[in-house]
Symmetry: C2
Subunit: 400 residues, 2 copies
Amino acid sequence: MQDITAPQGMKLASWTHAISQSTIQQLLAVATQPDILSFALGLPAAELFPTEAYAEATAHVLTTQHHALQYGMPCEILKHFIVQLMALRGVVCNSKQVFLTTGAQQAMSLLSRLLLDRYAPVLVEETIYSGILQAVEPLQPQLLTVPTDLETGMDLDAVEALLASGHHPAFIYAISDGHNPLGVSLSLEKRQRLVALARQYGIPILEDDAYGFLYYDDEPLPPLRALEEDWVFYIGSFSKILAPALRVGWMIVPESLISVLSALKEGSDINTATLSQRTIAAYLEMGQLPNHIADLRQAYRFRRDTMLRAMTTYFPAGTRCSQPANGMFLWVELPEMVDMEMLLKIAVEQKKIAFVPGWAFSVKRNHAIDRSMRLNFSCCNPERIIYGIGRLGELLSDAI
Amino acid sequence: MQDITAPQGMKLASWTHAISQSTIQQLLAVATQPDILSFALGLPAAELFPTEAYAEATAHVLTTQHHALQYGMPCEILKHFIVQLMALRGVVCNSKQVFLTTGAQQAMSLLSRLLLDRYAPVLVEETIYSGILQAVEPLQPQLLTVPTDLETGMDLDAVEALLASGHHPAFIYAISDGHNPLGVSLSLEKRQRLVALARQYGIPILEDDAYGFLYYDDEPLPPLRALEEDWVFYIGSFSKILAPALRVGWMIVPESLISVLSALKEGSDINTATLSQRTIAAYLEMGQLPNHIADLRQAYRFRRDTMLRAMTTYFPAGTRCSQPANGMFLWVELPEMVDMEMLLKIAVEQKKIAFVPGWAFSVKRNHAIDRSMRLNFSCCNPERIIYGIGRLGELLSDAI
């Protein structure tokens, strides 16, 4: 919670009394310091960015496209490439259903404002990515929550019970693959059941697929959007598969909603930076993204395995850990209670290591959350992962 | 007004029934076609973009800054350069008061959400930039309106009468220099009186200074923020002085509001594209922006004068026109009623010329609006301006 003090006598909108900057954003200042070994944030590995190719694409756009720096319409070529990317996820769509956004977060913000009336209910998991909470916060929604199983994902019995009892949330927020922060992916059976519930009760699903392309098993499961076209609003992003500094993402939505979303986006930031759109399109035209993603999958799989092995060695016996098939995060439940705030403070100050305490993602506090942490495995190289998990393990041995 | 049709049975937020994409955005599709001679939009002259220098700055950032493509905090160096830019506008501020945004439009959107409760009143001019209306639209505000004098700007007697009668708008929206669409700048006397009213009644002013750097007389007047620190929220943008394709703007606000704005922005799009921030900072470091702005002022002054002269020659006798000291727009009032919608249609289809009818900016319809149009003078070169004004004049001779 922030201390919000307007200049004397100035009145702010009423919802601002409850606003808070996320723990994640506050940790960004710490975690991006060069001497910090960070397991805290969802950062891609900086050394793997395709910087040279992207520089080449930018130079090409600025040299050859006369209006590269001008206002422009959403980039049609980019939309066509996104349709091709979606096919890799098993999703059939057309470019008129593609809506470009200033990152996945803007997609959540726009869809929240599109679907959610003030004070209306939304359905989220008890432990969930804080970005969706920030997107809905100005609308002061009623948060309906359901638990998550660490092996199969969202508790659909709880979802069905809520819907059957008459609750009608404006939407259900779901991360089918590489759940942030829990690292779990929805089982295929649950995917099918979830979209059936959405259809049956007429509830849209916001499917946040930021991590869908980063799968580490042989065959990824289809996202919800591959199973249901009308009731699933798919959210994708270039942040995790190309570069977060560009702030370009997309939605796949029913074509009939594009015009209202365009008006809402125009009022929010006019359009997504057209130079970034053009440059990403030029990079995609070079045809290197599929190979780049394959490289990321290989590197991140190895980092995940390295972190899991190191935890077996260095973390207290009885530590539970998710076994993520996708994404960037491990969810860790320690065998005993730990003062996570104190542990983080000591870890940062004495060992120069950062992580995120589990409660930072907690909508509804449950018993396990106070001994949980989220660890990112994509950002640090394997040597640093082993080193950092070792040091964290030492602190835990002292603390438990 | 759009035809908003959600998939069958899907409920959208209640405010969406009234949403509309702006006429400007609809015209963008027309005006950016290569064969159209456009006086319609606020486009900078594409041939004057500092493309080579910007390409050099981008290459420099991508080559030398290891984390250029990574998430990051708002760029401190860029904030310091903005403090220096503000000094050129006569504004004293420090970098802790600088808040980076995804263009000026996002500043309007964030400040609207910060200050405005649902259904609460805001004060705008009867004829005003549609972007502010789109920013407040989801909050369904009560629009209090005042007229604008084409030579001295906003009618402050009307503002004072509203405030004195007990209205308490969440903010007053003001464009002190190069008013969009009216082309007028506020007189110095009115600037002083407006900030005094803001202080007296405790009403924040959103000062949209997108055009402040583009002044064509010898000495520009100080913006409102130079006269009042607490009650004026200054909005600046790189779109008109550097390039709109980057979507980077800024606010100068009281430091105590930075944390709540950060939380609100984080929920909206996490942050402004850090690659763009870094690249603009690198471009500013090259020291070329002041000279670039001087070049723009010279070129645009000549285009403004060319358009004014051509209108004297080709437009009907009795045509009234603003004499803008700043910005990109002329406001034209024809001596007689014209069916503007039909005129635009004919102009685009037969002459390949686009403009914006005055009513596109009209909150409260008045008599003159139906014979008014906004013409942009920055985008086309002088030969095309003369040619286009000549063809529009011919159509007007036929129509009147």
